[in-house]
Symmetry: C2
Subunit: 281 residues, 2 copies
């Protein structure tokens, strides 16, 4: 398939069949990741490849009970790794202080994501599906302990991969004209912004199941795979909070604005435990 068509039909996949990914394909995925762009060619990346069933289950728990992490035959933990550079610098009679330097952190984080997205695209090309799990950021202490990750290494993203059993339908997106600006930033009016998101999501649907299928496919898929009655809890939340539009659904129920800020303190602590010092609480 043409690469453009492949990229345009790509969806995050959360429903995998049990088929293993052949070793040759895994080797190609990680080789391509290792050849992704990296600032100053510093390569501040380590990938922990997780295939053992028990470890997959444990990782799935850590990231907040996402059943696809356990069910995917393979997950990669993408780590921002300054340990190797620090040891190398010290063993060479100098010092590397990337864990204290915000620019080193941000460029390294960009490097890690370039590698991860390279894996996503090459995997798609091999008929694999994948899904990013960002909630590893809330489980840095646990992940570091369980996967023996030393100080100065921060697990920042998980990618779970496998052959798709099902692929979600198209999901709503902002029109490209909203996201792409020519020569300078074009500040939209509130009205234009409201229209853009209305075009994206449509009206909130009285049929909550149908609404979630469109706006919160993870919750629907989680229920399918684990029957955890998550959807019931969300439906109850929608009633209790009297959610009446898409923005309220996102920022009062799914990512409650104040709660997201409260989460900073633990995250900053866990980063500090890992030796990373660039973040305020």
């Amino acid at each position: 398939m043409d690469l453009y068509d492949l990229l345009m039909k790509r969806r995050s996949v959360r429903n995998f069949d049990a088929r293993e990914i052949p070793a040759e394909i895994v080797a190609k995925l990680v080789a391509a990741a290792n050849n992704a762009p990296t600032g100053g060619n510093l390569q501040p990346l380590t990938i922990v490849v997780v295939r053992e069933v028990e470890r997959r289950a444990k990782l799935g728990e850590m990231v907040g009970g996402q059943p696809w992490v356990k069910n995917a035959p393979l997950s990669m933990i993408f780590c921002l790794d300054f340990f190797r550079l620090k040891r190398w610098a010290e063993a060479s009679g100098t010092a590397f202080r990337g864990e204290e330097a915000l620019s080193h952190f941000l460029i390294a984080y960009a490097d890690v994501m370039c590698a991860a997205q390279t894996v996503v695209i090459l995997a798609e090309n091999y008929g694999l599906g994948s899904v990013y799990i960002g909630t590893i950021l809330f489980a840095v202490d646990q992940a570091r302990e369980y996967f023996a990750i030393p100080r100065f290494v921060l697990p920042v993203m998980v990618l779970s991969l496998g052959y798709p059993k099902t692929v979600p339908k198209n999901i709503p997106k902002l029109a490209a004209e909203i996201v792409v600006h020519l020569e300078k930033y074009e500040t939209l009016s509130d009205e234009a912004i409201l229209d853009a998101f209305e075009d994206k999501y449509g009206e909130i649907d009285e049929n909550v199941e149908r609404y979630f299928e469109r706006a919160f496919v993870e919750a629907v898929e989680a229920e399918r795979q684990e029957r955890e009655e998550r959807l019931e809890a969300i439906k109850e939340g929608m009633k209790r909070l009297q959610i009446k539009n898409n923005a309220e659904f996102l920022f009062r129920l799914r990512y409650p604005a104040d709660f997201m800020v409260e989460l900073n303190a633990n995250m900053v602590d866990s980063f500090k435990n890992a030796g990373f010092e660039c973040f305020g609480s």
Copy 2:
């Protein structure tokens, strides 16, 4: 060409010919970026597409005098955009506080880089070359002013694209075994780390030109395009600092460890000017 081969031969390109990139290709690049994975489908991304010669030149200056930014027919400024989400939330009777929430910031930054790397790979597929410019992080205030970027939007990465006039030869990389670990992190001994980097870079070369061609190709290319005598300054630095190995070259001369930490203060201020509050100085 097979996608794996394409990814393995990809190099950052800094020498572009003058040929314009056809509008249909630009449209495909940004459409693919807009369909890249994004956490919670929030799409906190705006891409400013820069093609006007004067703007390219100005952008090139801002990011530290990188001649390829001016010479590339097209650059994209990848912005982490919470403005749109904040306005939408407020206009919908709720609030989004991503600019204060570290997890929102880090996931959004990951989203931005997924989009950027999608452009890199699709561009490569169309015979284009590209190079990331991370130093926009040091010019956030200037870039926001010049490109009319409002508060709550942070330009975090530039990607310059064009048809390559020359492509650099293979550059040294750590072996994949160093970067990819199975089931858990494998902490290497200092000796193994020294060996890994020795395998990557080889000995520092008495022939400084030849060494830079391998270890600091940007400086060589910058001199070729602007004859700015940058290489002379670096050579002089190597003598003055008595640089005797690769780690010293990187962390005493190219990215001096203490200086990189000193840069935090200005960067954190410029992020605060943009409304982003998650970073300590």
